[in-house]
Amino acid sequence: MSTLLDVLSIVAIVAGAFFYLAGTVGLLRFPDAYTRLHALTKADNLGLVLVVIGLLPQVDGVLTALKLLLVWLLVMLSSAAVSQLIARSARRRETRP
């Protein structure tokens, strides 16, 4: 059982690290602000969510696991709001048509 949970953790964390890689590559390679924002939100949401899912079996205690979920919820909320705001500010300034 413990080995199974370890394998689940490793798979989820590797997938999360892959999304951080994809977010960085997208941020560096995509041509304009909106596509870069798309890559950034993938790293924000999927990367962190997969890392949190992978860490949940590894921490001891329900309270610590709840704290992990709280971090996840806060980052989800803030990244959703902030990506809207950044897209609006980019559109208002029309940095690229």
Binding site: S9, A33, A43, V59, L74
Partner: protein, 95 residues
Amino acid sequence: MADFLQSAGAFVVLMVALGLVRVARGPGRADRMMAAQLLGSGAVGALLLFGAASGESAVFDVALTLALLSAFASIAFVKFALRQDQPVVDEEEVP
């Protein structure tokens, strides 16, 4: 398992550091802010990984605080950017 968590955290930090190249290259302010946003979420993920690797649960509190602060940084940027009424010329288009 702790070694794996450590190296995964180091990998995430490396990726986020590479993303900072976008801060130097720009071109717009929104692009720079996006790199800062990636730094925030990547640092939260790396702190969670390092905290689980060391078994030090105080690191999770640091991650929680950092998530809050990086959200505030982006919101402050947007408030500042929207306050300027005149359209700002993009640095790349300046001859």
